[in-house]
Amino acid sequence: MAKITYIENNGTSHTVDVAEGLTVMEGAVQNNIPGIDADCGGGMACATCHVYVKDEWFDKINKKSEGEDDMIDQAYEPKKSSRLSCQIQVSPEIDGLEVHLPGKQI
């Protein structure tokens, strides 16, 4: 279990417990957190679970998957700190992770 905080673009913050083995995207969907669409369901075939991860967490979470940056190219307002939340694995080590949601997904 890890506490994950999702911060919407308007500043609204949601902190939830997400079980180990899930992804940060699944944690958002299961807890009905607005701002993560996840159209493709985690197949890395869209870029609608796009989040920003600040420096202090960026290196602690698992590295980008092969092809993840190709999808991020197609996201709304990608930045250096962009990740697809379906590719971030939840483990006790990332307890306290904060992710910031973009202005929109599509």
Binding site: C40, C46, T48, D69, D70, D73, Y76, P78, G103, I106
Partner: protein
């Protein structure tokens, strides 16, 4: 005005098999799709990726699946309306009046939405100022490349479309190619060629940068780009082209008075009918308790929706269930010999 027994929105695998089921039971149908090709997500998103969970087909690609479905539809002459988006849907007496983005009009008792996750649209530039130039000097697809002759064209993106057009247009235009990182997702040969032209000074390649804002009086004149270190740079340009891939939007479907659940349409599991009589939703776009977003589920849903269409299209006839193995009528429709 085209009159048909059923109109299918979406030419993905579910839409194609639904058409097959309609024709098999003797109803006619036409298919509309916003993409300019048949196959939906299978063709647009993963034509080369193998699929392993189609019953009785251990492995096939999205393209093979589409081709096989088309082969299965061959006995029936189905009319496709590609590159058209269904924009309007209105009830007129007991019929639905449907109008597409190209102005094609249909009258039908049955509309089957097999729209996947909605229609594919190009991802646009995010700065608000871009809107005033869109479809004029800011473009997301190219219809006539002659308009760029002798002009300065700023191309954004790192995939095949961006790089292919940069190469092609560099023959007759001055090209800025701008990408948000220094890796590209295009074919290696294309990337090599772009780098070669960049080294030779024929393409102005700018990486780790993105569009910040645009300006111009009536037409685009200047773009401002910003790199990862927040340094900005202004470039004179006549056109800006964005190739950021396609996004899927529910689009006009959201305005048809259907019960929506996020981006899906609520249906019953007997007819796959929505809250509107004569409008059905099948495949990834429909939602009901236990819904699985699998291609095989779409086939099942389409088969049942097709039977439901019969009632509205042939109110004075009774639908009789028949097997393809034994029915003479069905064999006639398929154009095969009966025993």
């Amino acid at each position: 005005m085209i009159k048909t027994d059923a109109l299918i929105i979406g030419a993905g695998p579910t839409g194609l098999f639904t058409a097959h089921q309609l024709k098999l039971i003797g109803l006619d149908c036409e298919i509309v799709d916003n993409l300019d090709k048949i196959g939906g997500q299978c063709i647009e998103l993963y034509p080369d990726k193998p699929i392993y969970d189609i019953p009785a087909i251990p492995e096939c690609t999205g393209e093979e699946l589409t081709n096989n479905l088309l082969k299965q539809l061959k006995p029936f002459n189905i009319k496709f309306h590609l590159g058209e988006r269904v924009d309007e849907l209105k009830k007129d007496n007991e019929k639905w009046k449907v109008k597409t983005s190209k102005g094609t009009e249909f009258e039908t008792p049955n509309v089957i939405i097999a729209g996947g996750v909605g229609s594919f649209e190009p991802r646009k530039f995010s700065p608000k100022e871009c809107e005033q130039f869109e479809n004029k000097t800011i473009l997301y697809s190219i219809k006539d490349k002659k308009i760029f002759d002798g002009k300065t064209v700023s191309i954004f993106g790192g995939g095949d479309s961006a790089l292919d057009w940069a190469l092609e247009l560099s023959k007759t235009s001055k090209i800025n190619l701008i990408h948000r990182r220094d890796e590209f997702r295009a074919a290696q040969a294309t990337v090599d060629k772009v780098k070669e032209l960049s080294n030779a000074g024929k393409i102005n390649l700018i990486t780790n940068s993105q569009l910040k804002t645009v300006s111009g009086n009536g037409k685009l004149e200047e773009i401002e780009i910003e790199n990862d270190n927040k340094e900005t740079k202004r470039l004179k340009t006549d056109f800006a082209l964005g190739f950021f891939g396609l996004i899927m939007q529910l689009g006009p479907i959201a305005n048809w008075g259907l019960n929506l659940n996020k981006k899906t349409v609520e249906v019953d599991t007997e007819k796959f009918e929505t809250n509107q009589k004569g409008i059905y939703a099948v495949g990834d776009i429909c939602n009901y308790p236990g819904k699985l977003k699998l291609i095989l589920s779409g086939f099942h849903e389409g088969a049942l929706a097709a039977r439901a269409c019969f009632k509205l299209a042939r109110p004075n006839e009774k639908y009789r269930f028949e097997f393809t193995t034994s029915s003479k009528t069905i064999k006639n429709r398929l154009g095969v010999k009966s025993d």
